[in-house]
Symmetry: C2
Subunit: 260 residues, 2 copies
């Protein structure tokens, strides 16, 4: 197989190029094609699809720790990494954008804040099959070993066969157990409570640190990711980034339109 | 009307508490209820639904420039402003979250990167009727005067009558012309090209600044926001934040599920 027919795989994340999860993902897929890791120089959890519009972005190539995989850092967000990789690093258009493996859940409403999924959104908008992988364990020391087979099978299928135009995948993986299988489902409706812890700085001025609590609005809904994750399944949620709420257009038109 | 039956309106944006657009929005709606402006201390365009998870957030109350409106800044993102306002600033749960008026378009795919709409997303997830307003003019000197009647009528209707649970609105307004009317529609499919300008710093090290170009994939689609904005209409796009792609679940289940 010559170079031009080999698959090109772009890997990024939001935990930074140093996170164990991204190294594990690169290791899992490196036999599937030419792998470029282009990831934030520093952690960017909770950065959603943020982009850097005014600050200069710098690229650094790092010493590779995996044969056949090149590693780059960008001092920006996960979306910056995808955009700048395509513009200035990759030798050609990638066949897949993979993001993760995130240290922590991006199931349910977490997809909205997730930098891991921000990068996936960007890959999808660029027309590239894109998948985010997240393990339900926040620790930097999380054990990814039981997730390997599932990540390999999902990534392999997407790299080889692609995805429908405009659809990307949010994959979440139970931690500390061997998953029972894979379930495609929808995101559970949920929210984080608006909790902050209040502190006083040495001058007596208050400041706040976020400490929300996750509330699943539909814990018994059998078609949701939280339901299946609780039952030890790997979940796949398909997403169309930026989709309008087409079901609402007719009713809102009747209310607001000033044209037929 | 006593205080407890008056509407409570939270206003934020991503251009910062100093931007003319947010002052104009506060001015337009201040007769509709008690208005709190809680906005980023510094510009946060392109911040999407980013949240600050580790850094301390500080709140400053500013001298009001509008009778009956209180102004606060938070040294965080637009989503931080909504969350922290609800936790630590507002006297009660708000009846509406309004974001803007943004200096620049958030139509079509821009909704994904928009901090203005990130704040709206957060309001919607908290179950509050939420609307983002954006004028198609980036300048800090943009003229909002022709938008006033449209913003007042849409904001007024949402404050008084609410929105369906889970649905928020992305309102975009043509600049430099009197709009012809209002059209509810869907977001046009589009993307930004991955263009960056390359520079060399004084040490000869390259850095990059984003300069994408907007490509509308369906310029003739009569049900899209870009189509109606080009024809001088104010557009309203309904959005369900974080919605799964339910149409894709069946086909992907056949491909990936390991359970019936």
């Amino acid at each position: 197989m010559n170079n031009s027919s080999r698959k090109l795989i772009l890997i990024t994340n939001d935990d930074s190029v140093d996170a164990p999860g991204i190294h594990r993902l690169a290791e899992i897929v490196r036999s599937m094609g030419d792998v470029y890791v282009v990831a934030p120089a520093h952690p960017h959890s909770g950065q959603s699809a943020a982009i850097t519009t005014c600050a200069p972005l710098r690229i650094s190539e790092l010493a590779s720790q995996l044969d056949g995989v090149r590693f780059f850092s960008v001092d920006g967000t996960p979306v910056d990494c995808v955009k700048l990789a395509m513009h200035a690093i990759l030798p050609r258009r990638p066949d897949a954008v993979l993001s993760g493996i995130n240290h922590g859940s991006n199931a349910s409403v977490n997809i909205i804040y997730s930098g891991t999924m921000g990068a996936v959104t960007e890959g999808c908008l660029q027309g590239i099959p894109s998948v985010g992988f997240s393990l339900l364990h926040h620790s930097i020391k999380a054990d990814f070993s039981l997730s390997v087979g599932f990540v390999a099978s999902i990534a392999g299928a997407v790299i080889e066969e692609g995805l429908s135009e405009g659809v990307c995948l949010n994959v979440n993986i139970p931690a500390r157990v061997m998953p029972q299988g894979i379930k495609v489902c929808r995101a559970a409706r949920a929210r984080w409570t608006d909790n902050y812890r209040r502190y006083l700085d040495p001058s007596g001025v208050p400041f706040y640190l976020l400490e929300g609590r996750f509330i699943n609005a539909e814990p018994n809904a059998e078609d949701t990711d939280e339901y299946w994750l609780a039952r030890r399944y790997v979940t796949i949620v398909p997403v169309v980034p930026g989709a309008s709420a087409n079901d609402s257009i007719r009713a809102l038109s009747a209310r607001f339109d000033t044209i037929d």
